[in-house]
């Protein structure tokens, strides 16, 4: 699926929630379902800065697509990572670099988009794009 399609899908899913509790319960569920980073890659050099709980992000190229994996000590942070990875993992570097993150606002997590947030969402997005730049094969 294309990035935009997945984003629309996520927005659609989140639109059914009536309150923050349902939304966060879903986020937690996502956090538990995230593709975990391989143990050997769960190292300090893969840590994302600006995050109160440790958050690791790793990327590798498989057939022209970038596969992201992540882990965090905190489940909400993992949930947030999950809604990023579901969109950006298994996409081409070019598509990743051309995408936007408006869907984060659309699903009502705009508050997390402040660069000063302790969950590191903004740093994570930046890191995802850095990887895409670095692994761009075109």
């Amino acid at each position: 699926m294309k990035i935009k399609e997945i984003q629309d899908e996520i927005v659609e899913e989140f639109s059914h929630f009536e309150d923050w509790k349902e939304k966060y319960e879903y986020l937690i569920e996502l956090g538990n379902s995230i593709e975990l980073i391989d143990k050997q890659n769960k190292i300090d050099s893969n840590l994302i800065k600006g995050c109160q709980s440790k958050l690791w992000l790793y990327a590798e190229l498989q057939n022209d697509k970038i596969i992201y994996t992540a882990d965090s000590e905190a489940i909400i942070t993992k949930g947030i990572a999950a809604i990023l990875l579901r969109v950006f993992s298994n996409q081409t570097a070019k598509d990743i670099l051309n995408s936007d993150i408006k869907y984060i606002e659309a699903i009502g997590l705009k508050e997390h988009l402040s660069p000063t947030r302790a969950n590191g969402l903004v740093s994570m997005i930046r890191q995802i794009k850095y990887y895409a730049l670095a692994l761009n094969t075109n």
Binding site: W20, S53, A118
Partner: protein, 405 residues
């Protein structure tokens, strides 16, 4: 005076806020306190009516501002029962105060000297000494903490000796809320002629300290921790010490004569107050002390103790909850974790319920390392909190845990 919690709460405009649809509950008081209207208004009043640069002006508002500023110093002096008003230095906060002293001792100590720091310190009270020690080679020794988070006074006795020149301990630990035995620490240090700096940042909102009785050589606090504004704090120093220390910053106010060849420094307290001070901040700091003394620290202590007791008992009902630092000598802080759940998750969800707590290492990484944890959830109480708010915390915490498990 009786303690009228409804009246008190109505003094704090921020307590009327709603967060995420819920009433706002503020349990992050150890990070910074909220401000009563009277303090906020004193700042507006200053800027609306007599804002001026101080000390050097002959015109009316300059005089009014100077008097108000010096009057604020007198209030701080009185509050802490200090002998001379010039022993009170206005700084921008505790961090500034401690750095001022550490910078001064840089020239006074050498690599044969030792200083002692407690293992319960805030980063503000560790890093300046590390920076000093890098320059003059003085050795830093640590008073470690035990499993309750209390200082190991036996080890203190062991490391204290005639080479010890300075001892640095906080009055109350910000991470755990533990009240340190500073009176004993000071007495013992003085026996070997070491000076003692007490970091009072966490103590001053909860009880009143008589500095002559305590006999500390230095004492620091930040106004923002005790209902005052940001950007202002104080350093108390015994006259003999303040005279001995070299000035920290150069600038206006702190000099008496300047030529390009030679500068003579002004007398205390101006020697340490270079540049235009935070005039509105100092004035509002004084008003904050007035406000707290108006309620009465006996009343505050009593009320906060009962809150702490209530909150501790209530939280202990939560399964798998571990409190760090269960000393009986504690102020209004409860630092805890729930087994298997990260502190950040708890803080983030409590926020959704409108409850502000702090999570993380609380600028006290060595304490976290001691307990082998990456952080805690810290609930810190103030006299404007209520048992009802603690009940809400309890209920929200239980929901939070069930969401996370």
């Amino acid at each position: 005076m009786s303690f009228d919690i409804n009246k008190i709460r109505s003094d704090f405009p921020i307590l009327k806020r709603k967060i995420n649809g819920s009433s706002f509950i503020y349990f992050d008081n150890a990070a910074t306190s909220q401000k009563p209207n009277i303090v906020i208004d004193s700042i507006s009043d200053y800027y609306k009516n007599y804002n001026s640069n101080i000390h050097r002006g002959v015109h009316t508002i300059s005089q009014e501002a100077t008097d108000a500023y010096e009057n604020a110093r007198a209030k701080v002096q009185k509050h802490f029962n200090v002998l001379n008003s010039h022993e009170i230095i206005f700084t921008s906060g505790t961090t500034h105060s401690i750095n001022l002293v550490a910078n001064g001792f840089q020239d006074l100590l050498c690599d044969k000297d030792e200083i002692i720091i407690s293992g319960l310190e805030h980063h503000s009270n560790i890093v300046p000494w590390q920076m000093m020690s890098e320059k003059n080679g003085a050795k830093i020794k640590i008073i470690p903490i035990n499993e309750n988070g209390e200082l190991d006074m036996k080890i203190y006795d062991n490391i204290l000796n005639s080479r010890t020149k300075l001892v640095f301990v906080n009055h109350v630990s910000n991470a755990l809320g533990i009240i340190n035995p500073i009176k004993t620490i000071i007495e013992k240090a003085h026996k070997v002629n070491a000076a003692v700096l007490i970091d009072g940042a966490q103590a001053c909102a909860h009880f009143k300290t008589d500095l002559q009785e305590l006999n500390a050589d230095f004492y620091t606090t930040s106004a923002h921790k005790l209902c005052g504004p940001t950007g202002i704090g104080m350093l108390y120093g015994k006259e003999k010490w303040l005279k001995k220390l070299p000035p920290y910053q150069g600038g206006g106010e702190m000099i008496s004569d300047v030529t390009f060849e030679k500068t003579t420094y002004a007398e205390l307290p101006h020697k340490f107050e270079a540049g235009t001070p935070n005039v509105s901040g100092a004035i509002a700091f004084g008003v904050a002390l007035d406000y707290l003394n108006g309620i009465g620290f006996e009343n505050i202590c009593e009320y906060e103790s009962s809150l702490l007791k209530y909150a501790t008992e209530k939280l202990k009902l939560v399964p798998n909850l571990k409190i760090y630092g269960e000393s009986i000598n504690k102020t209004s802080v409860i630092s805890f974790n729930i087994e298997g759940i990260h502190a950040y998750d708890i803080g983030a969800l409590l926020d959704k319920f409108g409850i502000a707590v702090r999570t993380g290492q609380h600028c006290a990484q060595p304490i976290m390392d001691h307990f082998g944890i990456s952080g805690t959830v810290r609930v810190s109480l103030s006299f404007y909190n209520t048992k009802k708010e603690i009940d809400s915390l309890y209920n929200s915490l239980k929901q939070t845990i069930s969401m996370l498990s």
